[in-house]
Symmetry: C2
Subunit: 221 residues, 2 copies
């Protein structure tokens, strides 16, 4: 290990969305050393000359490499150490981001990077660096918030039905929820606003559309 005065600082992002009702996380195939060719969650190095803080680093990376502005972005934790990156002492600030299902088509890799939506529980790749651990931490953070009654509305389009809200919570938690109980709890919160007169129609009773209340944030009680 070479001596160094300063660590390498990166922001890495676990970007979640819903694809065909399944919770999915974006992986990218690394186009550079180290771990070239391996899959990883998207990330990039801090640029002090352009980033006002590390959240901006994360937003810049998502914008430039993935072409998305996430609906929600928050810090999960920071990992660090002398050996986690072969280039030397490094720090990674891990973010968790939520992308509405209807914005998934906008996601692209750049010329040199393939991207892929994967099951966060079982992504099917051996990930680069300690990204497996980072992914697990991000998923657990997301689940913890949903268990604590936070609604991941940022995974849904801006108008949605109560059943969709239930589905997204179920897919995040990985378990079915009781409809009656779930809706009773939604009623006790004030997070949702009924869109009067707006319904989704199908081969059954129409479903009332809702939207997030003004000032809504994905936050537990």
């Amino acid at each position: 290990m070479k001596k160094q005065l300063f660590p390498l600082v990166t922001a890495d992002i676990a970007l979640f969305t819903l694809i065909e009702e399944r919770l999915s996380v974006l992986l990218v195939q690394r186009a550079n050393e180290p771990f070239i060719g391996q899959w990883a969650i998207p990330g990039g190095v801090l640029d002090p000359s352009t980033d006002s803080d590390l959240e901006q680093t994360a937003r810049r990376i998502l914008q430039s490499k993935i072409n998305v502005k996430p609906g929600h972005l928050e810090q999960v934790k920071t990992v660090s150490g002398a050996v986690r990156d072969p280039r030397g002492w490094s720090i990674s600030i891990l973010f968790s981001a939520l992308l509405p299902a209807d914005q998934v088509p906008a996601v692209v890799g750049d010329k040199t990077q393939a991207v892929q939506w994967c099951d966060p529980q079982n992504c099917g790749h051996k990930l680069a660096f300690d990204h497996q651990e980072l992914l697990e931490a991000a998923l657990e953070g997301l689940r913890k918030k949903v268990r604590n009654r936070a609604l991941p509305l940022h995974l849904l389009p801006s108008k949605f039905t109560l059943t969709q809200v239930q589905r997204v919570c179920e897919r995040v938690l990985g378990q079915e929820l009781d409809k009656g109980t779930f809706r009773r709890q939604l009623r006790e919160n004030a997070d949702l606003v009924e869109l009067e007169g707006e319904y989704v129609r199908g081969a059954q009773r129409p479903a009332q559309l809702y939207t997030a209340a003004p000032g809504f944030v994905f936050k537990d009680a």
Copy 2:
């Protein structure tokens, strides 16, 4: 603001303990620029040549500057940005540490630094950098865990009574708790082990002593 390729990386620690039944946080008076003479939570810069990761940075700082090994140390969050430190682009990884009440006498400042235990709610000083915000985040993190049933046993000596456990939770939360309810919930957890035959005596009925269960960690359910 001067151009720089690398940010300054520091670990800052909100070190909590109980002093005369009151929750207290350690502040130090800064001996160096910037903010010389102002009060701050203890912290120091990462040394990649000695620290295997940032948790070790925090431990090294607590050991060398304050002379303590905390009973519990965990990450709270990371703050960063171009302007939070007048020296330039900086990152601070905030830790929260718990020190058992019976280890408080060991705490010292070094020759150049005064130290002081303060009320974290109202420390009575204008703190350096963004340390007021950091202190609030650390306190809120601590409270959130205790609200979620985590027991801050690391603030107590290794043997303690149930009343002491209740007191420490009350002081962290800043509100009184019901004795019957609190003890019922303790019984339902398996965090505590009764020390058979060991009691605290006073001018009243003796109180059973307990200790943390093997493998206990300060963690919410």
